[in-house]
Amino acid sequence: MPLSPAFHPPLLRGALIPAIVLALGAPVAIAVHATAAVADEAASEDAASDDGPAAGTLMLRGQGIAKSLPAVRLGTDMDVTVTGQIARVRVTQAFRNTSDKWMEASYLYPLPQDGAVDSLKMVVGQRVIVGHIQPREKARQTYEAAKASGRKAGLVEQQRPNMFSTSVANVGPGETVLISIEYQAPVAQANGTFSLRLPLVVGPRYTPPHTLTSAAAVEDANAVTAAPVLDTRLGNNLNPTSIAVHLAPGFDVANLVSRYHKINVTGATDDRTVSLADTTVPANRDFVLEWRSASADPTLGLFAQKTAKGDYVMASVTPPANLDGLPRPPREMVFVIDNSGSMGGDSMDEAKASLIHALGTLRPQDHFNVIRFDDTMTRLFEHSVAATPDQVGLATRFAESLEARGGTEMLPALKSALEDAGTGGGTDPDILRQIVFLTDGEISNEREMMAAIGADGGRSHVFMVGIGSAPNDFLMERMSTLGGGVYTHVGAPGEVAAKMMPLLDVLSHPAVRDLSVRVEGGSLDLTPLRLPDVYAGRPLVLVGRSDKLSGTLTVSGRIGNKPWERRVDLASALPSPSIEKLWAHRKITDVEADRALGKLEDDRADAEVERIGMESGIVTSRTSLVAVDETPSRPAGARLTREELPINLPAGWDFDTLFGQDAVQQAPKDGSGDLAAMQAQALELPQTATGFLGLVGKGLALLLAGMTGLALVLRRRAA
């Protein structure tokens, strides 16, 4: 064959170009060189450094990678007691210094978004130091002062309602310091199933560049992306966690299931003890425990706490679950699917399967549209179209073709969906406008998302489907609540159908309409202020405060065209020691909702959050818990080394999709976590040669060779 090797690349190119263009076209948001504000400078400097192009894309600003195991090792123990419908959780973090230096360690971890942290204890040797609540900046100062003077100190700060960080200073060589925090959270309930979710890892977050407008914004973005992700080549068993759950819900437990971990169960049916089958598990995916009542479904849960400051009550009221006879109005549904890099691996498959499952349930009288986004966005149809088999088929093929890559610019996709839902369905009030949003929610601009939903004014119902082993439940829960929908979590490829079916049932039935709550024979300060939309089988959970608990609570509304009402005698409440803190947490959620809706300015919202936090002693965005040992331990001359403890990549995530092939080489440069502050933005330039001349040239050469051969053969035959 007269084919020179030089012609080989064009041969492959035809197939490679789409792939390479796809890979390189991903806009890559790596910030480089703080000082280089001018493009040319940054370009020339960078050209010198790295070599060898790679298809990998690093799309997370500031999120570093740990190439080695940390000096300070962390072990976590969670001890959960469920009483009635409230879980009290003690989280003990053991920081063990394996090095010969004095260390400061900081660990970023998740807690349930509706959990209220109210206790911090630091254990040093035989001594227990109790933490106290302080305004955020003051707590930070207390901690820094103790750190500088060589005393041991522990600090617990809230970065997001579901994301906290613990810092410990002055852990001596070979020493172990225990940090123990406690929080309470209500147990979730849907269709008679109770579920307890213990998040174990914070998924790496994407920070949209446009949000980095001020020093404070940069600091915030750095805080939520502070934890480096352990390179998966070093294993995935970091931060071992042990879990024990004491389950005393007040009824006989049936159908006790752990979704993602193997468990052992012992004890009586109304007082179960659950522990992990393996003593510890790596902190890389959420722990979810579900149970039902062995007898008829308890439709009402009423708990109260009497304190010197007043009485607190929590009531959960569940509307009837059977709505079969009701009409199913036509709907306009906009599906939004996240195909950003953080979805790489199992998550993308789960999201696609969920979307395809949902598309399959559309009826011809429904209208629908599909929007996909990473840092770009595609709207399948210009406006919603009728769900004919052809269009549904087209959408299904579109869903199948999606691949995870790029950053997570969620805001434009949400706005586009809200706008579409606003225009496509006409003005018919009977058409339900619904947005089904499939994502892992790994972004840092949660507030912008909520503001966008708030600005929509409730025209569309937003249903969040959280995908993957550790989705951002704070974003999901609040977007669903503000958007008048519900939040569903699909955590494993096998449970797509099981989780999507109840959601689609909810979607096909209207919520309880004209919901109202009133109290007779007493007064009650109730949260949430803005009643959420309530769906069949899902309880409305009210938390209230009163000087003296008495009277009846009545919840009423309309299901279909029939009136529906439920009365609760407040005096019959069961005692529970956690309601006061839950009430404070609810008040903060109300303040944050007002902030998202633009009814409260930032300063006033912050002040209000700080006041509630200080009064009730819980950790909030404005208040932190700090514990300081009075005895100095670090000798005056010894240096203190600071370490951000690395986290596992959440189970099912794809390391290479997220960080790229050559990410590890960049780690030393990028690991500091303050890259978000940079001024110039590097852009990878796509491969821009079709190489068609190469193809034509190769073709000509082949043709020539063939014809020469032909001529030779024929001439010889003629001779």
Binding site: P9, G25, A39, E684, L685, P686, T688, K698, G699
Partner: protein
Amino acid sequence: MNAAALRMPLRIREVAHKRGLLVLLALAVCLSGAVEIGRGLYIPAKAAVAQVLLERAFDRSRIDHAPRKPWPWADMTPLARLVVPGLGTSSVVLDSGSGQALAFGPTLLPGGARLGQSGTAVIAAHRDTHFRFLRDLKKGDLLFLQTREGVERRYRVTGMEVVRWDGYAVADAPVGERLDLVTCFPFDAIRRGPWRYVVHAEAVTR
């Protein structure tokens, strides 16, 4: 053929058989050459035809200022028209739905600024189709851009530069309206390389 072959002496039949194979082989090589040429020529043909469809979609977009798909299954829409009066070229720029959009026209890279806003907008296209004309641009040349929203801009070329694909950055801070046109370098290379040719331009008031 078979009947004729049977009547031939054995030796001649063997030779003819061998030659027949050679002829077939040569024909196969010719055929694959023709296929390669076809595949090669398909690329600029597709690029040219797409531009015609994009022109139409863009004209419709200009009427209602809304994105219009050039064909129903497209995952991108025309965003702007880039005209170089000095060279007589005009091409429709795409918002980048996906990387495959580059086959059909120049694409606005999502990492850069938006057209008509402060910052540096970056448009990339293939060096051997839509952006072949970049090699002919000179400092001081005028570019003309109109977006579907009706924004019109005039840019003046301020310089050219060759950079590595991964060694390019635009300033985040607003520094006036700039436009960078990017393609592969060198223009006549057969192989893919790490180098990119960047034409810098700056908006000028008319």
